[in-house]
């Protein structure tokens, strides 16, 4: 192509420009056609776009929390607080069963532990063991007495229904015995309600090193906090002691609880239990 000289006429110039445009833009036109074709053909389009989407998805997977965590958290916590009632309604019945299951499982573990120890004793055929098997204390008594000696630390006399304290004795001055009496009664009610619907009385509560032995009478009960293990015969000694105490020191009518009554019973409890030896 000859470059136009400066003396070209306007017609020639227009013609030249047209040619130039064709040369310069024909490539673009082809490219445009190709793009249009690609956009209209699904397979081609997906081939191009898929890797990009895939890459972006992978990125999101890795960085979702950073990118959107705050927003999602906001939405969730807003939803949660809006439907607090429903959630609590849903969780509550479950909680109850979970607690019951847990307690049952713990009891099972405790029982299995004792059973294994009883088996160990039965396997030892010393003459003493044989003698004990026929004439002496029961197997579980032996196992229990091998652990440690029982000692009475505190005695409570509690009105059965209300959980009000009728009197108490403690080796070491204790903080709030009224509150303990109430809590014991609540635990007792809960356990009796949950496990046998009140047909039987709860007899023992274990708490860390403490065992709380419960002795029930019609309108009140004794709670004796002890450390160590108590055998059946020692339990009997204790029960007899408590019954005697009740006969001698507790009035028939204990409906109205006042400090005159509780002071009197507490003094009597101290007198009876300060030197009490459960093994005699």
């Amino acid at each position: 192509m000859n470059l136009p000289s400066s003396s070209t006429s306007p017609e020639e110039e227009a013609q030249l420009l047209k040619q130039l445009r064709q040369v310069l833009l024909s490539e673009d036109r082809e490219a445009l056609a190709a793009i249009r074709e690609m956009l209209e053909d699904e397979a081609q389009l997906s081939e191009k776009v898929s890797p990009i989407i895939r890459q972006h998805l992978a990125f999101l997977k890795e960085n979702f929390h950073e990118e959107y965590g705050v927003i999602i958290e906001e939405i969730v916590s807003k939803k949660l607080s809006e439907s607090q009632d429903e959630i609590v309604n849903m969780i509550f019945p479950k909680l109850n069963t979970i607690i019951k299951k847990f307690i049952t499982a713990q009891f099972q573990i405790l029982k299995e532990g004792i059973d294994t120890q009883i088996k160990t004793v039965q396997n030892r055929f010393s003459p003493k063991n044989l003698f004990n098997r026929f004439f002496g204390p029961s197997d579980s008594d032996i196992v229990l007495s091998q652990l440690d000696h029982p000692e009475v630390h505190e005695v409570y006399l509690v009105q059965r229904e209300s959980g009000l304290l009728l009197g108490s004795y403690a080796k070491e001055k204790n903080t709030d015995q009224d509150v303990i009496a109430g809590m014991l009664t609540a635990i007792k009610s809960f356990a009796e309600d949950a496990f046998n619907r009140g047909k039987e009385d709860l007899e023992m509560i274990q708490y860390e090193n403490y065992k709380i032995f419960l002795h029930n009478l019609p309108s009140y009960y004794f709670a004796v906090a002890m450390t160590g293990s108590i055998s059946t015969s020692e339990k009997e000694n204790l029960s007899n002691k408590l019954i005697t105490f009740a006969q001698e020191n507790v009035p028939f009518d204990t409906t109205n609880v006042n400090s005159t009554l509780t002071d009197r019973i507490s003094t009597a409890l101290a007198k009876h239990f300060v030197h009490f030896n459960i093994q005699e």
């Binding site: 607090q84 009632d85 609590v88 309604n89 509550f92 909680l95 607690i99 009105q159 059965r160 229904e161 209300s162 959980g163 009000l164 304290l165 709030d176 009224d178 509150v179 109430g182 809590m183 009664t185 609540a186 635990i187 009610s189 809960f190 009796e192 309600d193 009140g198 109205n256 609880v257 006042n258 400090s259 509780t262």
Partner: protein, 161 residues
């Protein structure tokens, strides 16, 4: 001095534990820690009729009172039925609940208390009282402490007298 048992009951989250803590320890906690089982507390109250050692049972809330173990109510001299003025679901059952409580505790005095008073205006409380089929004895706020002392003191006075 006399000893008496009082029980706080009602639906969950209405502020039973908060009223208990406000009255016994003069504390308030914004966080909600639901009660499991029972918590028993004691407060010595001086009333014009004589002194009283009040044993207060704060029990776990239940949507309906017939779900509460009946043994908790045994030997109680007073029941405080608490609802939350800001949550209608906590007073929707009030008529059935009160009928039930009366049926199992014939001789016990029952007080109806609308708690979280700080979350409602006086006008709203008035409207609420009209909506509820039973007279509300007192509106309280465990948060600000308003009427909490009065609630327990009035009750103690009645019980001693």
């Amino acid at each position: 001095m006399l000893s008496k048992k009082v029980i706080l009951t009602g639906s969950f989250g209405v502020g039973k534990t908060s009223l208990f803590e406000r009255f016994i320890n003069n504390k308030f906690e914004d966080k909600y820690l639901t009660t499991i089982g029972v918590k028993v507390g004691k407060k010595l109250v001086n009333t014009p009729n004589g002194d009283l050692s009040m044993m207060i049972w704060d029990i776990a809330g239940e949507v309906a009172q017939n779900k509460v173990p009946t043994s908790y109510f045994l030997g109680t001299s007073g029941i405080i039925y608490v609802f939350d003025v800001s949550r209608p679901s906590t007073y929707g059952n009030i008529a059935q609940d009160l009928a039930y409580l009366k049926s199992i505790n014939k001789l016990t005095t029952i007080k109806i208390v609308g708690n979280k008073k700080d979350l409602a205006t006086e006008a709203e409380l008035k409207a609420l009282q009209e909506e509820i089929p039973l007279p509300v004895d007192l509106f309280t706020s465990a948060k600000t402490g308003e009427n909490v002392e009065k609630l327990f003191l009035d009750f103690a006075t009645e019980m001693v007298g």
